[in-house]
């Protein structure tokens, strides 16, 4: 079916930002324009969980993945803001990404 083919290649573009020291893991760049498939390999809409894996696989050049992901989930102590709102209000990893979303990862783990 044509629509299935279109869906399989459909992409969404979002903005991903890192702060609180996390930018160090992402080539010292705070703001990244990220394009990723609208649906994951199982045909489900791409979520924050999918984004986290995508960032690890395609965006992060640093080898210290454990500073961002632990046991397959975002490292505790890293906050996520989805369009400036606490991700805990948006379903956390389950949140389904929409085009032009702004996702901010902030580390609380650095010295103050």
């Amino acid at each position: 079916m044509a629509s299935t083919t279109a869906d399989a290649t459909a992409q969404i573009s979002i903005v991903v930002e890192f702060s609180g020291g996390l930018e160090m893991l992402f080539s010292d760049v705070r703001r990244h324009a990220v394009t990723l498939p609208a649906k994951d390999q199982d045909g489900n809409p791409s979520t924050i969980a999918y984004l986290i894996h995508h960032l690890c696989a395609h965006v992060m050049k640093d080898t210290r993945k454990e500073l961002f992901v632990l046991d397959g989930h975002l490292r505790p102590g890293i906050l996520v803001l989805i369009n400036d709102a606490d991700w805990e209000l948006e379903g956390e990893e389950e949140y389904e990404l929409k085009s032009s979303d702004n996702i901010l990862f902030v580390s609380t783990l650095h010295g103050g």
Binding site: S19, G20, G21, M24, L67, R75, P76, G77, L79, L81, D84, A85, D86, E88, L89, E90, G91, Y95, L104, V106, S107, T108, L109, H110, G111, G112
Partner: protein
Amino acid sequence: MPPTTCVRCQTNKAVVKRPKNHHKLCRDCFIAVFEDEVHHTIVSSKLFYRGEKVAIGASGGKDSTVLASVLKTLNERHDYGLDLVLLSIDEGIKGYRDDSLETVKRNAVQYDMPLKIVGYDELYGWTMDQVVETIGKKGNCTYCGVFRRQALDRGAKTLEIKHVVTGHNADDVAETVLMNLLRGDLPRLSRSTSIVTGGSLNDVKRSKPLKYAYEKEIVLYAHHKKLDYFSTECIYSPEAFRGTARSLIKNLEKVRPSAILDIVRSGEDMARLTPDKGQGACACDEGEGMGGCGSADAKTSGNDLAQMEASLKEKPTANGLETEITSNATPKVIDSDDVVKLPIRQRRSKEPGPVQLQTLGKCVKCGYMSSQAMCQACTLLEGLNKNRPEISIEG
């Protein structure tokens, strides 16, 4: 998910979920509530008096930047009548402090506060870069921690200020409580939970106005108020990220967000059970430095000397309180190497006599307050100056 409405104003979209009580708040209500709670801490603990000159230990990091911003706001809003000054320590670490000091300089302009920077080189004749060159990376956090603690007090004294506030937050305090609990160090646990330490006659008083504020909320406050802060790891503690107590705290928070404040409260309650009822707070024993090291690891190693000193001091007390029955008196039942014998502790049958507490004197070398003949900084410096990295402190 439909947008959640703020529980406080019932109007705006909630953007923060508070870890302590799960309240969902909009940006403005969150900022107002956060500031109100710090105000409440300040008032209920009687942290300041009108006209007091207060130095804010400023590292350029999130905690001290939020502290400076909130104190400025509250000082104006509630007319505390405080004279606020930013006090920064330059450890002399190239590529680390340089950038964060630039942040502090900008903060001084943004908050319209005078700024004093005290360098390790002028205070001790050694920058941390030079210390590391001499002793290597291992153990350098001990030096940095000991030097920093005095540096803040000395800097405050040169400004004729007797009160230094630091940005320690609830997560930091919970972390310290856990570490002392894991070490079985109740006296230290007691001191680490006090909101105010020091302050007797000549020395400089220390306090932590953000003691009950969650790190998460501090970061969100900085974000929503668009505060200018700097975050980096100290280049000499790359293992810092693995701070065990810190990870434990963050994992607990994930499962049960109220755990952090619960640990702080448990620490306070346990402090009341110690021989001096948690009153023996003394600045020289305060564990952590001013956010210089971003990690539990660094803090732990920075504590080693103080710990050693504290445990040496506490020993007579411990012996006075309890009697240990050695295994010699117990008939052997199982003769196996892998059975670990536990010491049997006898409950004390009568009230203990007066408990020996640490007494503060002055360092014979620099005159700075110290519970030993020579203060920790001078002891370390003597070793450094002899180019001898391995130093043991004698009780």
